[in-house]
């Protein structure tokens, strides 16, 4: 959930993962597609987990002098 690097945001990642599981569960995908989805999903869930485990809380303080933005 850090600033957008090359990776997707946590929200986008989670949505995609849920989408993948839903299409697998729907059961009408072909085997090749299913394999591709599974591979993508596995990679995605690993990277999301890494994002969660590695992150540190960062705090940035805005200066009160910033009048009338």
């Amino acid at each position: 959930m850090d600033k957008k690097k090359d990776t997707v945001s946590f929200e986008q990642g989670m949505s995609r993962l849920e989408e993948i599981v839903a299409s697998l569960e729907e059961g009408s995908v072909e085997l090749e597609t299913a394999m591709a989805l599974f591979t993508e999903g596995a990679k995605l869930s690993a990277s999301l987990e890494k994002q969660l485990r590695d992150a540190k809380l960062t705090v940035e303080k805005l200066l009160p002098e910033q009048k009338q933005g």
């Binding site: 959930m1 569960e25 995908v29 969660l52 303080k61 805005l62 009160p64």
Partner: protein, 398 residues
């Protein structure tokens, strides 16, 4: 005897009233009715009444503007006023310099009226509440730098889900400058984060007045980013609480509502992975079973079988083709025979054999006596031969 003008009388009575020290000032208790705020002049006109009597009252703009609330009909009040006379109409009235509501108290009335005004503007409407995002990346915080709230929020965020960035805009949460300070902090954060937490630790009702400010309520209302308000007063929600998209009792609760817990997310991720793997195994298993069914089919085991079946089919088709052809030929033959007999019955030779004969001159068949002249050479055709003859004489009609 001296005769006075009406104006002289009124002026004199007015001076009597104004000189009477008992009437300057006077404190009165009564109920407001027929309240009218003259928008052009800014003066307020109303009637002050109790069960037995009423008196007309005026409150000039200078004094009316000093009120923190709007007087309204039916309100029980104590007024401080001077008594005088409106010379032009000769009516005596009171000039109100201060007005205090009885019962609710000034601040409570002001707060209630502000709440009603904002409610009428739709600031508290549930339909316009924005959705708090599921996975915010940046969390904005508006609170005091010194209070307990910031610590509570950061601790909770840290332990719950450290995978967020916090933007902290410090603001004064009490005192006269607090409302403006809160509004500026809110505006500085709007657009830079996914959700904004605004609040302070618990305090007395007096301490929360900044969070009942109208400008702050409008800033929360206009904020494009969802706002979670935690002003920390369970009983009586502040206007800021009501205008926010979500209100929670404490700063800790605000942080909990803003971000999902990491443990729950990890569990959720694990569950998604499990479902994915389960689905994949099921899919593979099903494909394997399909393959097994195909492999065990007769034609796959013995391809010769397929050829045999096709050969049988071919010979069956060929046989039925021949059968069809025979039937067709038979049918056509019968049809030819029938037509020949029809043709035969129509032949002229057939008619001649019954005793009739045909007269011809040259190539032409003669069907009328008018076609002939005496001396013409004709042929008379019988079924078994022809007689050549010369016309001797012609007679018409029978």
């Amino acid at each position: 005897m001296q005769v006075l003008s009406v104006a002289q009388l009124n002026r004199y009575v007015k001076s009597l009233l104004e000189e009477d020290r008992k009437l300057q000032p006077v404190f009165l208790r009564g109920e407001i009715s027929s309240f009218h705020h003259h928008s052009r002049s800014g003066h307020c006109y109303f009637t002050l009444q109790d069960r037995e009597a009423s008196v007309r009252a005026v409150m000039f703009r200078g004094q009316a503007e000093g009120l923190s609330f709007q007087p309204e009909d039916g309100m029980q009040v104590v007024v401080r006023a001077t008594v005088s006379l409106y010379e032009r109409e000769g009516s005596f009235q009171i000039y109100v310099s201060d007005l205090i509501p009885e019962g609710e108290g000034t601040a409570a009335v002001a707060l209630r009226q502000r709440r009603e005004r904002l409610a009428a503007l739709g600031v508290f409407d549930l339909e316009r509440k924005r959705q708090i995002p599921r996975f915010p990346e940046t969390v904005g915080i508006v609170t005091s730098e010194n209070g307990a709230a910031i610590g509570d929020m950061l601790r909770t965020l840290e332990s719950r889900c450290p995978a967020v960035k916090v933007l902290f805009a410090p603001a004064q949460v009490q005192g006269e400058e607090a409302p403006e300070s809160l509004v500026m902090a809110l505006q500085a954060l709007d657009g830079c984060c996914d959700v904004i937490l605004i609040g302070r630790g618990g305090g007395s009702s007096e301490d929360l007045s900044a969070f009942n400010d109208e400008a702050l309520a409008m800033a929360v209302f206009r904020c494009a980013t969802p706002v979670i308000s935690a002003v920390g007063h369970e009983q009586d929600h502040t206007i800021c609480d009501l205008a926010a998209d979500l209100r929670v009792p404490t700063p800790t609760a605000a942080a909990q509502a803003a971000v999902p817990s990491r443990d729950e997310l990890l569990t959720g991720l694990g569950r998604l992975r499990g479902r994915m793997a389960g689905e994949m195994l099921f899919l593979l298993d099903r494909q394997e079973k399909r393959l097994a069914v195909v492999k065990s089919a007769k034609v796959v085991k013995n391809p010769q079988e397929l050829l045999k079946i096709q050969a049988e089919r071919l010979s069956f088709l060929r046989e039925s083709l021949y059968n069809k052809q025979d039937a067709l030929l038979r049918q056509k033959g019968m049809e030819v025979a029938r037509l020949a007999s029809v043709l035969d019955s129509l032949s002229p030779l057939r008619v001649l054999s019954r005793g009739y004969s045909l007269v011809e001159r040259g190539e032409q068949v003669v069907s009328s006596v008018h076609q002939l002249e005496a001396g013409d050479k004709i042929s008379v055709r019988f079924s078994d031969g022809i007689a050549r003859a010369i016309v001797d004489k012609l007679e018409q009609g029978n």
